[in-house]
Amino acid sequence: MASIILPSAPSESRPGRFGIYGGRYVPETLMAALTELEREYELSKADAAFQAELNALLKDYAGRPTPLYFAKRLTEHLGGAKIYLKREDLLHTGAHKINNALGQGLLAKRMGKQRIIAETGAGQHGVATATTCALLGLECVIYMGEVDMARQELNVLRMRLLGAEVRGVSSGSKTLKDAISEAMRDWVTNVRTTYYILGSALGAHPYPTIVRDYQRCISREMKEQILEKEGRLPNAVIACVGGGSNAIGAFYEFIGDRDVRLIGVEAGGRGTALGEHAARFAGGVPGVLQGTFSYVLQDENGQIALTHSVSAGLDYASIGPEHAALHDSGRAEYTAQDDAAALNAVVKLARTEGILPALESAHAIAEAMRVAPKMTPRDILIVNLSGRGDKDMGILAQELKLGTTDQRD
């Protein structure tokens, strides 16, 4: 590994730093907007009317709190730890992304911005943003890689129906990374009129903090619900990690509970060579991509590597900076599950529980299937089921050959 010297001395006390990670690495043009966003976000936290409006939308519009469901048949099938599923898949629009989109949408409105832009990988953040814009009467442009548009076509159609303009991105790998770059180019150009709703716990400060704060309701509810049902905290919380918004939301309130293992699951893709996966902690080194200092999959010249995952939402070369800090401190563990394991987990959850998980979330289910049998029936696992799999029917039909074969175990 090449010697990494930070451009500035890291300090825990500096805003926007998680250990040595995070920070702000952006063109100067965006600095005024990031400073304004940071200030307005802090004001909104202290604004009781704003918080009441957000909480009412989360409850009555999005469907919070989401259930914590005991997956009895999956538990019996695996013969180990009790498995609970946090049902973010039951939220309006089908994934946890709506938590953040509603929060930032209200923030944009509070700041008087009428034009919204966003990036999307699997399309769940794009749908959540388009939904929020329809609800709040805001103009909406979504950037999406052309590869992702093809494999998540249903979500493209949903966004258009909701009134958003979906702009295909044909540069680079034509996936999430390129959609973020194109959204940032739009923001640099239209920064005076436009709010960028970043959908993952990524990017320049204050985005990783804002997104985490809007997603931490997941772990707050998990904690209350498991204490109510079991009278104790779980042994482990498992979540898939692309940029890392559902995982940081699922981990955050447990960070101080040292006995609760926090397990993030990256995309193992179809192999261990650079370009064949999106396992940043297995193959990446610290670097700067799209505004933040974190682990980055890159070649020996600092060029960002291509990535692969069957799930568009995990197919990204970097990871949220707070995860990088949790990784280095050892507080959270990160592992990977490959495409085949995720597809297998989709089928297993569908057949045992009648629940069709998103391919992203299926990586977390696959990890639960690996670790649960090694645990005892007294142990408790919570899996964050971050999204539902309806959007993946095209890929699933193809990969599982649903059109040609009678699928039975």
């Binding site: 952006v26 100067e28 043009t29 991509l289 980055v296």
Partner: protein, 258 residues
Amino acid sequence: MPLSFHHKPGLVVYLTAGDPSLEATTAIAIAAIDAGADVIELGVPFSDPLADGPVIQRASERAVARGTKLSDVLAVARAIRSARPEAGLVVFTYLNPILRYGLTRFADDAKAGGADGVLVTDLIVEEAGDYLREMDRVGLAPVFLAAPTSPDERLEAIAAHCKGFIYAISRTGITGKQSAMTADAAALVARIRRWSTLPVAVGFGISNAQHVAQVAEIADGAVIGSAIVELIERATPETAAEDVARFIKGLQLLAVSS
């Protein structure tokens, strides 16, 4: 002091190194200097150039695909420096290639390669502590961008840390040609002057003699990027240097006669 402007306005020419080849970049840079360029900005191609428009994105993609490395770009700098000792030379890059190369090693090698300054597109002054120390240690000029959206307190900090010249972005946006200069540029340059006596170069969107003449009225230098990169994209490798030289001479016509 090689980072100085001998023309009114001084001409800063941006080239994506390695497009169409390292040898061609060296030849084009030399031709550009001979045609009147005061400073060459040698662009390090990066896989994810989020501050750049389609023209420089395409050039970067081609150069990365050819395997152009940071060390190759520094070798081009050395070749230009030995051929034209009097010209200004700035390495223009995104941060990640420097981090991977090693900041200390980069500072040493850029200095040894004959660069006068460095501009890192995605590095703002607040995050630049170690970088500024390294630039200072080896005697390279750190050039920062100033934007129309930068408030006065940021311009003050930028002015305090810049050496050589200050790069004023003509408009909010990414690199690329535009039809007319905006009022943003003049207002920004006037604000920068309150904080600095350094020369100010205006860039982003400057693509013809009329733009250059307009810049001459408000600033010390004009940066020409996408227009030249696009010219190189359209030219054959054999004629690119000649085409660029003719274009640069044409840019100065209105400014000289006014």
